[in-house]
Symmetry: D2
Subunit: 367 residues, 4 copies
């Protein structure tokens, strides 16, 4: 029944509800000797902070992270790292009404059915605030990856019908628009689209893409623990994600073998793929090309339009959800996708260390 | 580093290579008292058997399953169930040539990089034959689900560009065509398309869809162990799967909240959703609607067309892969998808039993 | 590499160092609907509190537990329960000297070798304070067991050479002496023995026994997950525990089969054992008798006597450890043993729910 | 509910019953590149073979192991290694009678209570034959340890009241007596004792000790995954084991701190312990001394003396168990203890590889 634990060698357990005392994560299995301070984590958390643009809720969450254990004199000690963000703005009153009915597109109904009741304040454990813990853990994983030469970068590919120029993304402008789109023209159009949605008391979904550079070849395990299967698990576990693709994804289903196969050529004395339809994974193991995957994010279910639903007494009612809700969560989810990817990749990297006798012998060799 | 283990309460470990002695699986955690015989498993294995049509390899694999343990006097005993299928046609000679180079779209290169060498006979552990073990375990999981009133049905939605009538699939004809398409007209067109592919020494991909009926509400865990995340992991771990969608999937990324939300109404005294854009999962837990998901399958990478690649000596070469290869693996993968879904759903059902104190008290109550 | 995670269905992850910000635990998999408040946990923590007698350190640790998540309106919600105890008395200065050398009987040397350095303040993660988290989680597990009719009671069997009357323990006096001995005469003698130890700048070990009543028959799994094997793991993972016995333990090695076998007789219409040499476990499953096991606790390694050791510069030195150290940790470890037993037994109880088809069918039956 | 899976990075799943088709194990996570053939495993299996002396059952089990997967051209490939031993002498008839009653000291009763029925043939899954799989997997683990300079040696310390000279064990004679005692005089006395037991239709227990040399410092994890806790789990999971001690074990409970602490001195430029009361583990991590532990084995419960028990109809009866049963299982269990130790130590060694950033950087460094 445990559902808030993830990873094998770099294992995390997250906790906390939207309107409880805070959100936290414990990392069990972080290697010793990593330089780590709260600022390393804070800068990632700030990327998911609401209130940064007109398209995210005006709530002022400070989301200041505190390292509670596992770091001594600026370095990780190899023991569990507990991270916590206190909840500052707990206005439970706002949410009391939703206790009585089931919001469409939310987990209210399933929570009640599974557990018999629920912490209805702001979605409780199903709130988007849960992702604070993912980002905090992801910041630690990402810092380790960085030291190993691996970079993970997620960005917004589309908002509703507005898609970036996928042939030529311009990452230099990605942080210049609040939608994290690597295409200023698309960002402008997406903004206009979102304003329409807001006027119509509606919301929008979108697609997040992610690119990983520098991963050594051979990371990921065959059969059930394929790297792409684990990434799919990690990314699909983020609330609101409805689809996952590696490489060409669903387009691969329409292509022929001659189109989809990536030929190998030699470059700098090493085999490299000429194309990357596979998205950097062959047989579940990294193949030396960029890892490339996408996640489909559904529209925020909390909308002010009138919706039909039922209440706990079994009565059919109509509701209209007001309050502080993002018309789109895609931009804030970018860093969450990046974080889950970092956690997954690091875990696979650490596990891979015991794959070969020659390397194990080398590791433990004595003089 | 273990990669061939899957599941928590219903845990499986698979083994075996394409041209080794056989393929097998051990199931640790199968409940006691299930009536089980080899025929229960054989009938599922027969669905993935090659040589059933002109679109699958003419190899005659008998794939007879043997129950080696865990069943006594026709019932499971609660101890591990070992299942094995002997490999009959081991013509390693056919494959010796591929030892020297890296086939595009295959795991040859990544295996060599990860492990230093590989069992090159027929793809070794990365062969499609590995799925025999998934189907054998899935047959057991499926039989248990059936007794609990849960049915899992996968089918072919598309082959290359040929898509079934998704509004009105006709499941009664699904087994009347070798492509497992619930639409005879589409099956005819897809056959014609595949014949073209074969003439062109090429291959095709496609999409498999899966529907689950009868799953109780509340199955799956919040946060990382969401039902859809686990299904994604399970399905993406099948070789050749490049994408996964739950419910509307990527289409949800383009829809507005007002379009994507599923309203609740009362029916027979219970809340039910009017639509099912969510694919039967809300907040990672089953919501009482049909579970509906899709998997994108890439085209068979083994094609007779000339392809560029490199060999182990670092020389650029051209190859053309001959031998017994399916021009499309989608039809044979249908039962594999169904099997992985069954294993995942059963595991989640068993884990869910400890979710509520009232039910645990009831379970262990004494008189 | 993760080492601070325990359990399968009732999974805990602990964190915190002796002189860090606090000690905590997250419980992932606690069933929903359990009435739980901080006082339920506090009363167990108070049992391991130091400063309760002259034989435990005079440090005044308040050890107030805070529930950070997972409880709503007085009941567990099924989501992770985070518990935290802030460290109040962090006088790191006391410990600065020990940074430079390796205390005999402590983990200073092994920490340095494994991780390259260590948080030397008060033993860091290897401090006895780590057990605060075990007791907090154990309090939750114990409360659930209690509701299921299972009671777990640990007590002090011996301190140094002083052993209780093992034939007739008197549990009514157990809480009337600070050593938790169910024998006032033995407690008096043990007190005298400890005073001698203290005068001699020395310390003492002892034995803790534990009895479990009310566990249903059949809990625990065959082969590797035997109930006694899991209890051994749980109890041996407590710092300072050097031995574990179930039932007659090492005495069984000297007995003959005719002496050690427990005959079955009928009682109230059920098979019951006439004796309990087995300690309540047969073939790794509970057999309906009391579960009975023992743990050997070594003497506190921090003693004021002069000891030989080496420092980080590789110099041989002599040290004498002063400060606030218990001359015996056995009494304070009693509740820790009880807690680990409770966690282990609950986990096994929850896992056992999926052992039989008839019970699963009953659980999920629909009308 | 799975109970036949063990280990994290070197994970094994075992299967098979006494009188089923065979006994097997799958190893998931064995590093690639290990030279391995059936003879490597066979020689270990031969050590547990019955019929080698008058104190073990005269059954002629050949116990020939077959490697079914994971080895190619004499080397492990990194994929699962399936090992199987066919059961040759399946005389189920011998055992039919025991189907109806519960043998004292056996798991008959608990199996029936847990699962509703049982495979009664020869103890089914609870038979000592189950250990064939442990030894097969242990042989692989032991071979890897050997290549890393780690040796594991178990031996018989006592049979009933006959104890070896524990101060001066003579390992050169250990294999010269069928009891695996490193003391010929003790072996003679133990033989005489066992003959008495047999005459009296009775059986004997004993103690097995195990010494590990060459393990690097720092293996094992702090808190729950302490090396000694994992060894305890591994060893206590062997049927008939009733107690576990590391180092001085229960004697440590009687010693003072000044007696039990191991002083550090310098030797060859490294800190070493002067004594080894700790048994080679400090704080759950190997400390560079020999790992030393003991296991208490109960007397064989199958004895020809008359015993009281009940049958499945709830009638009190008297039974006398005839057939081929060892009067002592200690000698045959020696290799089983050694195997479980090897599996546990290897798993801990592999997991330890990700403990430090400096070593991870070194492992993955690029030029």
């Amino acid at each position: 029944m445990p559902g808030s634990t993830f990873g094998n060698q770099f294992k995390i357990m997250t906790w906390g509800e939207s309107h409880g005392k805070g959100i936290g994560v414990v990392i069990d299995g972080c290697p010793a000797g990593l330089t780590l301070c709260e600022e390393d984590i804070q800068k990632m958390l700030d990327r998911r902070k609401p209130g940064q643009s007109k398209f995210s809720t005006p709530r002022k969450e400070e989301d200041l992270v505190e390292i509670l254990s596992g770091v001594f004199e600026g370095r990780t000690t190899g023991t569990p790292i507990a991270l916590m963000v206190h909840n500052k703005t707990q206005r439970s009153g706002d949410y009391h009404e939703i206790a009585s009915y089931y919001r469409p597109g939310h987990a209210d109904f399933t929570f009640d059915m599974k557990y018999g009741f629920r912490d209805y304040r702001g979605g409780g454990r199903s709130s988007g605030r849960e992702t604070v813990a993912r980002v905090a853990a992801g910041a630690v994983a990402g810092k380790i990856l960085e030291e190993l030469g691996v970079t993970v970068r997620a960005y917004t590919e589309s908002i509703g019908p507005v898609i970036i120029d996928t042939e030529k993304p311009n990452f230099s402008v990605m942080n210049e628009n609040p939608l994290y789109m690597p295409d200023m023209e698309a960002a402008r159009k997406a903004s206009a689209y979102l304003e329409e949605c807001m006027k119509a008391c509606d919301s929008s979904g979108g697609i997040i893409a992610c690119i990983v550079h520098g991963l050594p070849v051979g990371i990921g395990e065959t059969v059930f623990e394929k790297l792409d299967a684990r990434l799919a698990h990690a990314v699909m576990s983020i609330g609101a994600v409805k689809g996952f693709e590696i490489g060409d994804g669903f387009r691969a289903a329409y292509a022929k073998g001659s189109e989809n196969n990536d030929a190998f050529r030699m470059k700098d004395g090493k085999p490299v793929k000429k194309t990357n339809h596979s998205g950097g994974v062959l047989g579940g193991m990294s193949d030396g090309s960029e890892i490339f995957f996408k996640a489909a994010i559904k529209a925020t279910p909390s909308i002010a339009s009138v919706q039909e639903t039922v209440n706990r007494n079994g009565e059919e009612i109509e509701i209209s959800i007001h309050g502080r809700h993002d018309p789109v969560i895609v931009p804030r989810a970018v860093v969450v996708v990046e974080s889950m990817a970092a956690i997954t990749l690091l875990d696979a990297l650490l596990e891979n260390m015991s794959s070969r006798m020659d390397r194990i012998r080398q590791f433990y060799k004595r003089d």
